[in-house]
């Protein structure tokens, strides 16, 4: 309890601001029904393409659906994308990076070539190619991102571990006769975690952008489900007469992205032991 209080007192402003933004997104994602004024899927032929007003703060689309409610409801899928598309790569990449960085040798050489291979392809093109093979849809999108994305985590982790394994406290742990699992998990991993957690935060924001891009291209979430990318795609045909259909979901992406970035920055500060 005191540790929690201490953490809160030491918490940097950016961490608190980021957490506040993400909390808003989280509430929208978990209980859209509580906040959204309308059913996001309900048609209202009496209010087609209405501009923002008191009744519809973000306006309505070509079926009279409330954009505010659809933007809120989309948080469910988009937050899901942010998490599901990144947790797999985070875990797999961390483990592989840790092992390859610590033990080196042949596995490290093979990993190095794999990194070269992956970074020479544009990430988006690679993901689109994999989704095209597997078929559109969220699950396949997660698989596609996961297949490529872990490499970036592993590369980051490997670099950190290669530096840390030469540190004297790691040598001291070896001389003290500690087992390798203990050295890896207690002495190396916690000290290597900071950059990878910060990158994870950025990656979640990027995953939402990527998910939205794929949604826009029709390869991710499928209509009529509300997803920010899908919403933007929906609005593109009406952009000249009804800008609000496109712009407000766009704001939501930016808002959520800022939340992750601030939280990541704050996390980096908080995890700096010398603070």
């Amino acid at each position: 309890m005191t540790a929690l209080a201490l953490t809160f007192r030491r918490a940097p402003a950016s961490l608190i601001a980021g957490a506040a933004v993400l909390l808003v997104v989280l509430v929208c994602a978990v209980a859209p029904g509580l906040i959204a004024p309308y059913d996001p899927l309900a048609f209202d032929y009496g209010a087609l393409l209405q501009p923002p007003s008191a009744a519809h703060p973000f306006g309505t689309d070509q079926f009279g659906r409330d954009i505010l409610s659809r933007t809120i409801a989309a948080a469910t899928i988009d937050l899901q994308i942010a998490i599901f598309a990144t947790v797999g790569p985070l875990v797999i990449g961390t483990i592989i990076g840790l092992l390859v960085g610590y033990y080196g040798g042949i596995a490290d050489a093979i990993f190095g070539r794999l990194v070269d291979l992956v970074v020479t392809f544009p990430f988006l093109v690679l993901v689109i190619a994999i989704v095209a093979v597997l078929g559109p849809g969220l699950s396949n999108m997660y698989i596609a991102i996961g297949v490529v994305g872990w490499v970036f985590y592993a590369r980051l982790m490997r670099g950190e571990v290669q530096v840390l394994r030469g540190q004297d406290y790691v040598s001291a742990a070896k001389v003290l006769g500690y087992g390798e699992a203990r050295i890896l998990l207690r002495h190396i991993l916690p000290n290597a975690a900071r950059p990878i957690l910060v990158y994870w935060m950025t990656d979640m924001a990027l995953a939402i952008l990527l998910g939205s891009s794929l949604g826009y291209l029709g390869l991710g979430a499928q209509p009529p489900a509300a997803e920010w990318g899908v919403l933007i795609a929906d609005g593109k045909n009406f952009f000249s007469q009804a800008w609000w259909i496109t712009v407000f979901p766009g704001f939501a992406i930016v808002f959520c992205g800022i939340g992750f970035s601030l939280f990541g920055d704050g996390l980096a500060d908080l995890m700096d032991v010398r603070r």
Partner: protein, 346 residues
């Protein structure tokens, strides 16, 4: 103070550790052109046949300049490096073949204190956790007794008991070095290898840590291998010294005897090169000319011959053996006296 930490014993002449012909090379990376061109693998000759004896309860000072292999030697002795050839014996038993449990048991007996007080402690472990870890991994004490023993260890190195709850970055360099010493003592070793343990500290703080080593050795009957480039310090704290040059021990004997009448020209140069605090002992002459040779391509014969003021033709070809040569302690110099063992051209 708990009785089990105290391991006082009389200083005996019996060797506790022996090192015999230790060789360690570090291969350098090769470019593709090297491989295709069939060039031989180049390597740093860190240790080229080091032999030493460490007696129970003594302080052996190992001195030398950079590239002489003293840190590599320390790391080989605690098995952070695997030597290419040679033997290390601890209480008569071979050390280099130990694996698993036996190896951990060996490391319990032979511990290390590192040079860099900022790099040798895990920044995310509190001092108490770091000490408790060493105690619990080896089941030295268990349960509620751990905290008490952590307190005793802090007492032993003269840190306040509340240091246990603090993190490494909250301490000064000298205090962190005390934590490193306490951690090494946690597993109740009989030998501590200290690799430049005070060279990162200011003079006035150095003295605090040196005194701690002297006191602990007295109280716990520790054997200390003290590795340093600081001749003033090594003269002060060692019973015996070994002078290293380019991967070899060139002279070893009782500290005061060696300092008073060094037999190897390198030892003489090293002692002369140390700046004296007494301004009346100034000299305008360089103690020794020339640069330290590269350990990638050490000179043939005696490694010191290119800088030696008294080198003779045989020094350029014949490697001098570390033998007494008619004197009271071994020295690897042809001109110190005739060898009492065969020597080889290299």
């Amino acid at each position: 103070m708990s009785g089990t930490i105290l391991k006082s014993g009389p200083v005996a002449d019996a060797p506790i550790m022996t090192v015999d012909g230790l060789v360690k090379t570090f291969p350098l990376g090769r470019s593709l052109a090297d491989v295709l061109g069939g060039r031989p693998v180049r390597a740093v000759q860190a240790l080229s046949g080091v032999s030493l004896t460490v007696r129970k309860g003594e302080t052996l000072g190992v001195v030398g300049e950079s590239g002489c292999g003293k840190s590599t030697l320390a790391r080989c002795l605690v098995r952070l490096h695997e030597p290419d050839a040679g033997a290390v014996r601890f209480e008569g038993a071979d050390v280099l073949g130990l694996q698993g449990y036996a190896r951990r048991a060996y490391n319990r007996s032979v511990q290390m204190v590192f040079q860099d007080p900022y790099g040798s402690l895990n920044p995310r472990l509190s001092v108490g956790d770091a000490l408790a870890e060493a105690l619990t991994v080896h089941r030295i004490v268990e349960g509620g007794a751990v905290r008490e023993r952590v307190g005793e260890l802090l007492d032993l190195v003269h840190l306040p008991r509340d240091a246990a709850d603090r993190y490494p970055h909250e301490f000064s360099g000298g205090q962190r070095q005390r934590v490193g010493i306490a951690r090494a003592l946690a597993v109740e070793p009989s030998v501590i290898i200290a690799d430049e343990p005070v060279s990162a500290l200011d003079v006035s703080v150095q003295a605090q840590v040196v005194n701690l080593f002297l006191e602990l050795q007295e109280r716990l009957g520790l054997t200390l291998i003290f590795i340093t480039h600081d001749l003033r310090l090594v003269r002060h704290i060692s019973h015996r010294i070994a002078v290293m040059y380019l991967g070899k021990v060139v002279e070893t004997g009782d500290t005061e005897a060696v300092f008073t009448a060094p037999r190897h020209p390198y030892t003489r140069a090293l002692i002369a090169a140390v700046p004296q605090v007494d301004p009346h002992q100034r000299s305008a002459r360089e103690a020794v000319r020339g640069e330290l040779p590269s350990p990638i391509a050490p000179p043939p014969g005696c490694p010191f011959h290119p800088r030696c003021p008294i080198a003779e033709p045989q020094c350029r070809t014949v490697v001098p053996a570390l033998v007494p040569r008619g004197g009271p302690w071994p020295v690897a110099c042809h001109l110190a006296g005739p060898a009492d063992a065969p020597e080889f051209i290299a």
